[in-house]
């Protein structure tokens, strides 16, 4: 569903560094998002609310399961939320690997808050865009002629 009943989008933050976790959470809450922070990938995966997140922000270097493994685990779940990666400065090879593995995008530490927040806002739009695209695709099928060249159904026309 990627959303909460109160309309406030939930962002999940995963970072083993307490300061990073707290400061990113504060940054999101000030802008009106709800933030839930975890000190490990394992803890975030075990949390049932993860499926409701509009976006997940994760550090790459963490003890135990690292950000790349976490990304793979999240992506394997149905209706997976977009995942933003926070990488060490200059680790472009890792960033490219993350993008190929389906990360939404990445920022390098220390990052500009405007850049991270713009990505989060964009990521939060993704579930809506996916729904719209699927709706439009469905309607396009209805409006397209079948193999016999006839339209299966013409919708949205007023009765004559």
């Amino acid at each position: 569903m990627n959303g909460r009943t109160d309309g406030v989008q939930l962002i999940v933050v995963v970072d083993d560094d307490e300061v990073a976790r707290h400061s990113i959470g504060q940054m999101l809450q000030l802008r009106g998002w709800a933030a839930e922070a975890f000190s490990s990938a394992e803890a975030a995966l075990a949390w049932p609310g993860l499926a409701d997140a509009a976006c997940v922000i994760t550090d790459v270097k963490m003890p135990g399961m690292d950000g790349e493994e976490f990304l793979a685990e999240v992506r394997a779940r149905p209706g997976a939320p977009p995942v933003m990666m926070i990488t060490g400065h200059g680790d472009i090879a890792m960033a490219v690997r993350c993008l190929k593995a389906g990360a939404f995008d990445f920022v390098e530490k220390p990052f500009d808050d405007d850049v991270l927040l713009a990505y989060v806002a964009k990521a939060g739009e993704q579930p809506r865009l996916v729904r719209e695209a699927s709706d439009l695709r469905r309607r396009l099928t209805l409006f397209s002629p079948g193999e016999d060249g006839r339209f299966g159904m013409v919708g949205r026309s007023r009765a004559m």
Binding site: S23, L30, H89, K109, P110, F111, D112
Partner: protein, 227 residues
């Protein structure tokens, strides 16, 4: 070394930047009270202390030695090198054990360059254990009173190890088994040890960990050679 410094300093720098920008936003938008803004300033100050501590450790590690001094306490250099890399060792879940002989004589030498040797060896060991099921690193020093080079330090890991053929090439400049490695760490380390009149040897077997042994001469009283 540069990567280690950059990683360690980036953590507090990220915190400082975030807390400062958040405080700025609170003031600009009239969010939160004075106490919350003060709270962020206090957090910023804590992160500045954290960064300063890292810088002080580095300074201690790279302090210029007085060449007329009584020599270098190798155990001290080992301890400082380990302490500097400990956050990364924890991150990589490496268990570090120190067994340092208390009766080790001082070595005549350059503290900065000797520290560089241990930082190289410890960093290599950590990287060699990246995929190892067991990650144990032990650094032991001992005194070998009858040898020409009585100060002995052994760095042993449970990493991927190497074949005899690789062991022969390890100290060659630009030889590397690691993707992205420059192949200079061990050649520089050997040059530094040799400049101090010492030797460095590597032993290991594929999948069975590696061990590096450094043997250094003791300082020869006040008239000892300088490196």
């Amino acid at each position: 070394m540069a990567a280690a410094i950059s990683h360690e300093l980036n953590q507090p720098l990220t915190g400082i930047r975030n807390y400062a920008r958040n405080a700025f936003y609170m003031i600009e938008k009239g969010l939160g009270g004075e106490e919350e803004v003060k709270g962020n300033l206090r957090l910023i100050s804590e992160q500045v202390d954290r960064a300063a501590k890292i810088i002080n450790q580095m300074r201690e590690l790279t302090r210029r030695t007085d060449r007329t001094s009584a020599g270098v306490d190798i155990n001290g250099v080992v301890r400082e090198s380990v302490e500097f890399l400990l956050p990364q060792m924890r991150l990589s879940e490496v268990e570090v054990t120190l067994a340092l002989a208390p009766d080790l004589p001082p070595v005549w030498g350059d503290r900065i360059r000797l520290a560089q040797v241990f930082l190289n060896l410890l960093t290599n060991a950590r990287q060699a254990m990246d995929c190892a099921p067991e990650r144990r690193l032990s650094i032991a020093s001992r005194r070998d009173p009858l040898a020409d080079r009585p100060v002995v330090i052994e760095v042993t890991d449970t990493g991927r190890g190497f074949s005899e053929e690789i062991a022969r090439s390890l100290f060659q400049p630009f030889y590397t088994t690691r993707k992205g490695g420059h192949g200079l760490g061990l050649s520089i380390s050997r040059a530094i040890v040799q400049d101090h009149g010492g030797t460095i040897e590597a032993s290991g077997r594929p999948g069975g960990g590696a061990s590096f042994t450094i043997r250094l001469p003791a300082e020869l009283g006040g008239s000892g050679r300088s490196p």
